[in-house]
């Protein structure tokens, strides 16, 4: 499947690569990448539709609504690494083999 590779998508992908195994909250991604919600969520939706992003609802704590969590899938990690390397986008090169090992 083809996915649009905008500079903002690359920023989001490189943000995920900083902690490739960890689940992230939407607002935290927005803060770390500097992207507004109106830009960030369409990107997350697109990544999820292409099977590159895993989503999950966290367990509800008493008195707090559950939040949505995001993590790259194995395909997503591979894709992110390829894109970051090929585009020379900002972000650390973690070494794909290390990431998916």
């Amino acid at each position: 499947m083809k996915i649009r590779k905008s500079p903002q998508t690359l920023i989001v992908l490189s943000g995920f690569l900083e902690d490739p195994r960890g689940w992230k909250y939407g607002y935290d991604i927005s803060r770390n990448t500097g992207l507004k919600s109106g830009t960030l969520y369409p990107i997350l939706m697109r990544l999820a539709d292409h099977g590159l992003l895993q989503t999950s609802w966290e367990m509800a704590e008493t008195g707090k609504p559950p939040r949505h969590l995001y993590k790259l899938t194995e395909d997503g990690l591979r894709y992110a690494q390829e894109q970051i390397i090929s585009q020379g986008a900002p972000g650390r090169d973690l070494g794909y083999n290390e990431v998916i090992a």
Binding site: M1, K2, Y25, G26, Y27, S30, K36, S37, G38, T39, L40, Y41, P42, L44, M45, R46, D49, H50, G51, T55, K64, P65, P66, R67, H68
Partner: protein
């Protein structure tokens, strides 16, 4: 709760309400984040951004036949979203013009309002009949491909030909009569009515290339589908 926070919560709740089933979980996710945003202004702008989720035109361009179920699902969701938003807008406008009809100062404006209500109902009819068809998720690839093709054709035709031009034509007379009626009722408002009329024509003209561009995009996707089927 401050006014800004209340506005943010209500905006997000409205977005959740207006969202199609597939988009709804994303809108709910954005709503759930609000409690973690301490700044009132940031919470407000976060909620404003959520409105964009309603207008996201998600597209999956299948690169192989196996991608078609996912592409069909995304297309159907987008069509559902458009139907939902469109229905809310045209019903809202029909109610607005219907109410204005009761207070219109002259027959010209009353006729304009009546025509606009009819136009909105016609648009509602087009939206409702243009809803995507349901298909079982476990349907075979041939059925999913057929559905995808028919939905692409339906979308292409929604943005061009009789369907599009009739939508445009049906709104014109009502709005023109409404503005002329406004000028007759209050000659001092001729300037503002002329500006309204000019703006209406500007947006109507803008709708033409926009819709034709969408139609072209869907026609191109239909061609891509044909190529995939030939290859597959």
């Amino acid at each position: 709760m401050t006014i800004l926070r209340r506005l943010a919560v209500n905006t997000l709740r409205t977005v959740v309400w207006l969202s199609s089933p597939a988009t709804q979980s994303w809108a709910k996710a954005m709503l759930a984040e609000l409690d973690s945003i301490s700044s009132e202004w940031k919470a407000f702008f976060w909620a404003i951004g959520s409105v964009r989720v309603l207008f996201v035109r998600q597209t999956i361009r299948p690169a192989s036949l196996s991608d078609i179920p996912a592409a069909a699902k995304v297309l159907a969701d987008r069509m559902n979203q458009r139907t939902r938003l469109g229905c809310v807008m045209v019903v809202g406008m029909a109610l607005f013009f219907g109410r204005f009809f009761l207070h219109a100062p002259n027959a010209l404006q009353q006729t304009g309002c009546a025509l606009l209500v009819v136009a909105m109902l016609y648009m509602l009819f087009q939206l409702v009949t243009g809803r995507p068809k349901h298909i079982a998720p476990n349907a075979d690839l041939a059925a999913q491909t057929n559905l995808y093709r028919s939905e692409l054709k339906r979308e292409r035709d929604f943005h061009r030909g009789r369907s599009f031009w009739s939508r445009l034509a049906v709104v014109m007379p009502g709005f023109i009569l409404l503005c002329i009626g406004g000028m007759v009722a209050d000659p001092s408002a001729i300037r503002s009515q002329t500006i309204q009329l000019a703006l209406f024509f500007f947006f109507a003209l803008l709708a033409i290339p926009n819709n034709l561009r969408f139609a072209k995009r869907y026609a191109h996707q239909l061609q891509e589908l044909e190529h995939l089927e030939l290859k597959g």
